[in-house]
């Protein structure tokens, strides 16, 4: 094959494009024996974007992550990491990974594990910066201790430091808080938010929906090896609602409520769906206007409680709705 002028032109064109996404995968497929674990999964994670991977057990989340990182060979499909094809080991030069099954050489000290990963990644990270990473995950005073003596939670903290140590541009976290106490979970949340501030892309697989909801820009929902839904939290969650406890509701007042959105009633509690996906200024003005109108119509307002359909409710809706 010769590299003709067409190729050079194509290269020039590519160089002018905005940076390629942190993760790009298309049509990933994997079978284990007769069971199809992953069936045509495609999604992207933009630079500096935090994307949550959600789904029930056995949905294929970990298999997808392993295919992205070249640990499992896909039967079909393509992967690009930070603009390089996934088959090229160099694609993982700026990638940090905390696996679901985290185990580090028990005969090494925490500081030695980090030094090993820095060497393998080819990055030049000074020892002081490596120590800072241990400090970030709360292991500063255990740097010289053998990993064999660490608890599960401490090993997972070490794993987080390993994922962060080689100045990654993409961090893949597979169930990063499975062994952590609530304090540790809060630490991980802070770490992910700090990564986003620094423009580092994060792919986060977690069972803890609340965790995903707090830190993720976008969510990809996997079910039985396929992408069941994907989008920003606003797109996925969409509807907001308003719960009101009212007495003295006349026909006029009921009509006013119904004019706002879909209405349901349970005793004195009325629930109105509000239009609009985002909390824009116009939308938030709806609520005081509605309350003022209700009061003018002689309704006694005891409580007004804005609510949002939680990601959990939406996820259950997607997964159950998908079942035959």
């Amino acid at each position: 094959m010769t590299a003709g002028p067409d190729l050079a032109a194509a290269r020039g064109l590519l160089a002018g494009l905005p940076p390629s996404p942190a993760v790009w995968c298309s049509g990933l497929r994997k079978r284990y024996g007769r069971r199809t674990a992953v069936d045509g999964v495609s999604f992207t994670v933009g630079r500096g974007e935090v994307v949550g991977l959600l789904g029930p057990n056995g949905a294929g989340k970990t298999s997808v992550i392993k295919m992205l990182l070249g640990l499992v060979r896909p039967d079909a499909g393509e992967v690009h990491l930070l603009g390089r094809p996934g088959r090229d080991p160099q694609a993982r030069e700026r990638v940090g990974y905390l696996p679901e099954l985290f185990r580090y050489q028990p005969w090494l000290t925490a500081a030695e594990v980090l030094a090993l990963h820095v060497r393998l990644s080819g990055a030049a990270v000074p020892a002081a910066e490596q120590r800072d990473r241990l400090g970030l995950v709360g292991l500063a005073d255990r740097a010289g201790d053998r990993v064999g003596g660490f608890s599960k939670g401490m090993q997972q903290r070490l794993g987080l430091a390993v994922a962060l140590v080689a100045r990654p541009e993409l961090v893949v976290l597979d169930e990063p808080t499975s062994a952590l106490d609530p304090l540790g979970r809060a630490d991980v949340r802070d770490v992910v938010l700090a990564l986003r501030e620094d423009g580092v892309a994060v792919l986060l697989n977690s069972h803890l929906i609340g965790e995903v909801e707090r830190v993720c820009d976008r969510v990809v929902v996997l079910d039985r090896g396929r992408v069941a839904a994907a989008g920003t939290l606003g797109e996925l969650l969409g509807r907001r609602e308003l719960r009101l406890r009212l007495t003295g509701v006349g026909a006029d007042a009921e009509a006013r409520l119904a004019a706002t959105g879909r209405l349901t009633r349970s005793g004195e509690t009325w629930t109105v769906e509000l239009p609009g996906a985002e909390d824009t200024a116009e939308d938030t003005a709806d609520v005081p206007r509605l309350v003022a109108d209700l009061v003018a119509l002689g309704v006694r307002v005891h409580a007004v409680e804005p609510g949002r359909i939680t990601l959990e409710e939406r996820l259950l809706g997607i997964l159950r709705g998908d079942r035959p």
Binding site: L71, L98, F102
Partner: protein
């Protein structure tokens, strides 16, 4: 990048052997073997046969036989040690999940495998050379015998260890850590026995039986290399002195190795390591 990976993983493998008390266990075993052999050789010096005191020639003959026997013990320790190290270091890491983070780094799997191999070869060879030299000194002090080609012999013994651990690595890419160790050691033993059978066949002039040894020596070169090492350790006059009644004796080697056989051994290691690399690269972890 690849060279850095190879050296880093080789260093890691050596550090694992040192820190996991493998060294200590080997040292204890070896010291026990050395002490026992020193005792035996010391007794040999004052031994009297039925016909009276042994002549110095007879002592040298027996000493060179015994040296081969003890070196066989050492090679067995080295073989068992490295085969059981090679399995867990690869298959065990995949099984426990340690390999996940390592292989997610920008490394080629073949480089990781070669690094492991290099570390294990350095470990096994280092052990064989140190323990072998210690044994030579014991024989020197007790019965004043020094093998004719100590360097060649130790190099061949190290090569035998390398062959077996390469096989252990190949098995570890495909089966569980324990199974790979057991199979590697089993094949090592089987080849040695086939070699003995072949020797008996040759002594009896039965070509069919002799071929058993030849074929097994081609399939797994451990026994062939061991025979070469024995030939380097034993007194040149031993074969002549032993005569026909010792033909087929397992601790007596009648001929050194041919260059062709050495070349085949090198090629065998390269082929098996290449195959292990291919299997490991295609494997899901």
């Amino acid at each position: 990048m690849t060279a850095r990976t190879v050296l880093t993983v080789a260093g890691l493998t050596l550090r694992e052997a040192a820190r996991r008390k493998v060294l200590r266990a080997l040292a204890v075993l070896t010291l026990a073997l050395l002490a026992l052999s020193a005792w035996g050789f010391a007794k040999l010096a004052g031994l009297e046969s039925q016909a009276g005191a042994l002549t110095s020639g007879e002592v040298r003959l027996v000493a060179s036989q015994l040296l081969n026997l003890v070196m066989f013990g050492l090679s067995l320790i080295a073989a068992l040690g490295t085969a059981f190290l090679a399995g867990p270091t690869l298959a065990g890491e995949v099984e426990s999940g340690q390999a996940l983070v390592l292989l997610a780094r920008p490394v080629r799997r073949s480089a990781v495998l070669v690094g492991k191999w290099l570390g294990l070869v350095a470990f096994g060879s280092g052990y064989v050379v140190l323990a072998g030299l210690a044994q030579f000194l014991v024989v020197r002090v007790t019965v004043d015998y020094w093998p004719p080609q100590p360097v060649t012999g130790l190099a061949l013994l190290a090569a035998q260890t390398a062959v077996l651990l390469t096989l252990g690595l190949l098995l570890a890419t495909a089966v569980s850590p324990m199974a790979s160790g057991v199979v590697a050691v089993g094949l090592f033993g089987a080849t040695w026995i086939a070699g003995v059978v072949g020797g008996v066949g040759a002594a009896l002039g039965n070509e069919g039986v002799a071929r058993v040894g030849t074929v097994s020596r081609m399939l797994l070169p451990t026994d062939g290399l061991w025979r070469g090492a024995m030939h380097a350790f034993q007194d040149p006059s031993a074969v002549l002195a032993a005569g026909a009644e010792f033909a087929g004796f397992p601790f007596l080697s009648e001929a050194g190795l041919t260059p062709a056989y050495l070349a085949w051994s090198v090629l065998w290691v390269a082929l098996v390591l290449g195959l292990a690399g291919t299997v490991f690269a295609r494997r899901d972890v």
